[in-house]
């Protein structure tokens, strides 16, 4: 059963690194690594909407916030007591189960929000989605600011740090695998067709509304899961983590990587997470240089690092030529 081999190998690698990395890695570097993982999940999930399907969502941070707060509250109220009640089960397993439940809960709530936001706005062609998602992101942030039960402006502390390397990069592997398999299927082609010419896609029998909503809800789900990982990694949530700027940051990753390219999104997420850290030494000029580098990159490579192509690992080892997937 050849097709089960990669997932099994991935799980083994994740377990091994999960034990090893926190012991040998400088805690600061480890934190950056984890944030890279979370940003990869955000970028690839937004790529499903903005890159694959050609819809312009600018409220990804809103879905991330929904997932973050929902999963954090789930763990605080249900997950943590449940994990504690699982006597006889090894602690990492009990906490893992609790985290998994919280991530699914956060993801589902974000997906539900995505459905509510997406269905009315995606029926229409054009730029409605941008406006609606922009509004959504702001509404979510303001609501969180004003609900005391989830910490309001003070933030939400004390979230159990269940999100280990295994879970963050397990989700990274899942979202990349899902996006890749989707891209190579008839459903992925339907999304690409909508991106390239919505009218032609519809005239050829593609249910454009269904597929746009599907991509959007999937994107929202994984944004929610990324939010859940973020919450259970930092142990603390604050509404200021989910501003419009965060949405723009994720869009920058998708555009910089190349709309529709999964490996491009991954690379751009890595670069754009590292860049501000590397630039810490130049203090005040940090964000200026960051912005300048973005501008220079987009002028020199307007199609993004990868265009719509994928990095083909096989090609690196001379097995076959890199090919156009989309």
């Amino acid at each position: 059963m050849k097709r089960f081999l990669p997932p099994i190998l991935t799980i083994f690698a994740l377990v091994a690194l999960n034990v090893l990395l926190p012991r040998v890695m400088n805690p600061y570097y480890f934190q950056v690594l984890m944030l890279i993982g979370i940003n990869v999940v955000l970028a690839v999930s937004l790529n499903l909407v903005n890159g694959f399907t050609g819809q312009f969502s600018i409220g990804h941070a809103g879905f991330m916030a929904v997932g973050a707060y929902a999963s954090a509250m789930f763990t605080l109220k249900i997950g943590a007591p449940f994990a504690a009640s699982l006597t006889g089960v090894p602690l990492p397993v009990a906490q893992g189960i609790a985290l998994l439940m919280a991530l699914v809960a956060g993801g589902l709530l974000a997906a539900g929000a995505g459905w509510l936001v997406g269905l009315p706005s995606l029926r229409l062609r054009g730029d409605y989605l941008a406006i609606v998602t922009l509004g959504f992101g702001e509404i979510i942030r303001v609501v969180i600011l004003n609900v005391n039960a989830i910490g309001g402006a003070r933030g939400l502390p004390g979230i159990p740090p269940y999100a280990t390397f295994f879970w963050v990069f397990g989700v990274v592997a899942i979202v990349i695998g899902l996006a890749r398999n989707l891209a190579h299927s008839t459903h992925g082609r339907a999304l690409f067709a909508i991106r390239d010419d919505e009218i032609a896609a519809e005239a050829l029998g593609v249910d454009t509304t269904k597929y746009k909503v599907l991509a959007f809800v999937l994107g929202a789900f994984f944004a929610g899961v990324a939010g859940g990982l973020f919450a259970h990694f930092l142990s603390y949530l604050n509404p200021s983590s989910f501003t419009f700027i965060k949405s723009i940051e994720v869009i920058a990753m998708v555009v910089l990587g190349g709309m529709g390219s999964i490996s491009g999104s991954v690379m751009a997420a890595i670069v754009l997470t590292l860049l501000p850290e590397v630039l810490r030494s130049v203090k005040d000029f940090r964000m200026v240089i960051y912005a300048l580098m973005l501008i220079v990159l987009m002028i020199t490579r307007p199609q993004g690092l990868m265009g719509t192509r994928e990095l083909d690992l096989g090609a690196l080892f001379g097995r076959k030529k890199a090919k156009v997937v989309s």
């Binding site: 519809e202 029998g205 156009v324």
Partner: protein, 258 residues
């Protein structure tokens, strides 16, 4: 009398103050190859848009195989057996030729999303069948060599043929071709005529064709309808249309060779 395959039942399409199509009544029977001609802006493409669900006629209705299709969503109409090509080529520019055609074969393959994401053997088999079918259509249109090329790398005439391959992959019973010969040189138009009559026979199609190239229209159509300012001014065989004074005045002009 049998029910026509397609019946335009007094359709009118009004854009603000402009009646682009005005009470057009027209019936097409199974197996026919009919033409729709008329001067620029006469409303021909608008008729196609009304049939394929891009627009819903403001008055009248479109019947296909005895059922009303006007008002249905465009993708439902396509799945129901009517596909088309576009006057201004509308290919999926960032997809390969094969994938362009595969998109159109999509409604006939029901592998679910979950099986696609998990890449189950059933999905793989379905995907293979779909690609094979798409490849066959490319082959029919003589584009098999370009399967893996991006659609935009094709020459103009080939792009027109790719549009036809794509429309065929949707397994239509009625095929609508909007100016397939536009921009082709005389030799290419000649080949196109053979091709259209060929696919019609092979796939047992009914074809409605918009075309300005009179050699093509008169050469292959059995019946022709003429639009002028949204109104159907004539209908008949090529011979009748060629000698119809109203058509000559509105469209063909004096020096149309007999």
């Amino acid at each position: 009398m049998t029910t026509p395959l397609l019946h335009l039942d007094k359709i009118t399409m009004q854009f603000g103050g402009l009646k682009a199509v005005s009470e057009v009544d027209y019936a097409i029977h199974k197996g026919e190859l009919v033409g729709l001609i008329g001067p620029n802006g006469a409303g021909k493409t608008t008729v196609f848009n009304c049939i394929t669900g891009v627009y819903t006629p403001t008055q009248g209705k479109v019947m296909f195989e005895g059922r009303q299709i006007s008002g249905m969503k465009a993708n439902r109409i396509a799945c129901g057996g009517i596909t088309r090509t576009f006057q201004n080529i509308r290919l999926f520019s960032r997809l390969t030729c094969l994938d362009n055609v595969a998109v159109a074969a999509h409604p006939h393959h029901k592998a679910g999303l979950a099986s696609a994401i998990l890449q189950t053997p059933a999905f793989e088999a379905d995907e293979k069948a779909l690609k094979a079918q798409a490849f066959e259509m490319l082959d029919v249109l003589g584009l098999a060599d370009y399967a893996d090329q991006p659609a935009t790398s094709l020459a103009y005439g080939q792009q027109r043929r790719l549009e036809i391959a794509r429309a065929l992959a949707g397994k239509p019973r009625l095929l609508l071709l909007d100016e397939p010969a536009a921009g082709l040189n005389p030799q290419e138009s000649e080949e196109l005529m053979t091709l259209i009559t060929g696919i019609r026979k092979r796939f047992e199609l009914t074809i409605l064709l918009i075309e300005h190239d009179m050699k093509v229209v008169m050469g292959i159509c059995e019946r022709i309808a003429v639009l002028d300012y949204g109104v159907k001014i004539a209908e008949g065989t090529p011979v009748e249309i060629r000698s119809n004074p109203k058509v000559i005045e509105a469209y063909l002009g004096e020096e149309m060779p007999a």
